[in-house]
Symmetry: C2
Subunit: 329 residues, 2 copies
Amino acid sequence: MLAQLIALDWGTTSLRAYKLAAGGVVLEQRSLSSGIMQLPKTPRVINGRECADGFELAFDEACGDWLDAQPDLPVIACGMVGSAQGWREAAYCDTPANVANLGNSLQTVISLRGARVHIVPGVIQRSRLPNVMRGEETQVLGVLQNLPVEAGGDLLIGLPGSHSKWVEVVDGCITHFDTFMTGEVFAVLSEHSILGRTQQQGAAFDGRAFDRGVQVALSADGELGVLSTLFSARTLGLTGELSPTAQADYLSGLMIGHELAALAAAQRRRRNSVHLPSIILIGNAQLCTRYSRALDACGFANVTLAEQATERGLWQLALAAGLIDSSSR
Amino acid sequence: MLAQLIALDWGTTSLRAYKLAAGGVVLEQRSLSSGIMQLPKTPRVINGRECADGFELAFDEACGDWLDAQPDLPVIACGMVGSAQGWREAAYCDTPANVANLGNSLQTVISLRGARVHIVPGVIQRSRLPNVMRGEETQVLGVLQNLPVEAGGDLLIGLPGSHSKWVEVVDGCITHFDTFMTGEVFAVLSEHSILGRTQQQGAAFDGRAFDRGVQVALSADGELGVLSTLFSARTLGLTGELSPTAQADYLSGLMIGHELAALAAAQRRRRNSVHLPSIILIGNAQLCTRYSRALDACGFANVTLAEQATERGLWQLALAAGLIDSSSR
């Protein structure tokens, strides 16, 4: 099959490249560590010119040979590559945002080898406390493509990660989302706080310790909030009730539990109903497993996992932008 | 006036030494950076012997000359010096704890120069999520000494710090306390997370930014919890609504606001009343100023600051332990 599109998922710490054929079929994919915060630094000759620009170097490494073979392949990219610290800033689109208005707002940068790289903007929600995403909007669109439209109203799309996002969609539009910094806070506490000092790496995921943390967050003890319950990861260790190898997974469950307890309460308030929406999770499989367990404990009954969300979303956006012939749909 | 007692407040990052006369009057005081995590390392001759033990070196530096002048002065110490990582572990006393049972539970270590150093135990609350303190119990006792007994029931003693403590006292006993890791979490987020990257040091405390953070925590937006509202320190910066120099104080207000909102709700539940207790704050003056502002915003009407709590508490404990003659009271 002939390639039709190069699609890049270019975040802070990684760059994934996909060569896609008609219908968005993945012909080949690559994973590089050249996120925008860790770009290559060794100069190289690109298109006959010595080049030291990290974005050009990473781009060439990711898909230079694909473009050598098919120089006219369109290129689309999403993620932090479009941030103020990225290759070219693509200003946020406001909510409500859908595939049409995101596809019409691509920002273009022309690479040293002459390829036009189309960068997907992020989405901003201008509420009293503004909220932003970059990359997740593309994943959400990739998931929506496969859903019946009427599913939206009772659906919440979750994207666990350093900054997890919970996205509401109505009629194919991203209408509202919330962010939780749970992943990053967990990482900095484990690495730099007193809680990390007594943690020992366990052999495998300790589901019991994780579930125990979730239950604490959901219990009456959780009402003091995460800034208080965090300390139990230390004190249960001091009293011998939590082994050093269980502490990291306990802390993870505790923090994800606080996130999801607050999310469930907010959803009930927003919907003015005790009923909780169905959930579709997108992301790293291990992290989604943790979130699935905790969602279940929080009363979210219907949780499914989505796959290939990013490449599907990029394909849809390229179609909407007219980068590829709609007969390839 | 003749000295009667050497009192040491020996924590993780600092060591304060007091020379006290009858009635607990402070004759002299010193502040060293020799906390138990940053003990001196350069060997020195103490009492005719070469010594490389960090505790001995710090102790000698803090009060060796006082003991040279009065070798029989009793010594009492509180804080992390009595932890498992300290000079000698002093096992926690259970709640309810008062001056009598803490004074009866001192742990003794004999220094190289022959001084008996009496170490105050911490306090443990064996609830479902255990809670511990070391050093704060002494400060609380120092404050109680000056209070009418009947004040206890409607009083909460707050000790802001890396791990802030909120202590309930009944009839001179520490009966219940909660811990919030607000200070340490603020520090690691400012130093190691994405939130720190856009913070710039302001010239002075930005009270407006701080109060704004407190209000966000208390608002409907705060219901998603601190793991979510944290992200607003970044997004308000992205949209130009919060300047880089205001971000640290905004974040501080936000986090202290979440702590105190949870505390107020818990106090109302525990007392089964909308009425909030009076507050006495003990600690660093700048931090107490922040907490006073935020307590006021949270509806705590009666807030006062205590001084000299540690040295007073150590004096009371030395009296209770019989280290000093009760005629010196």
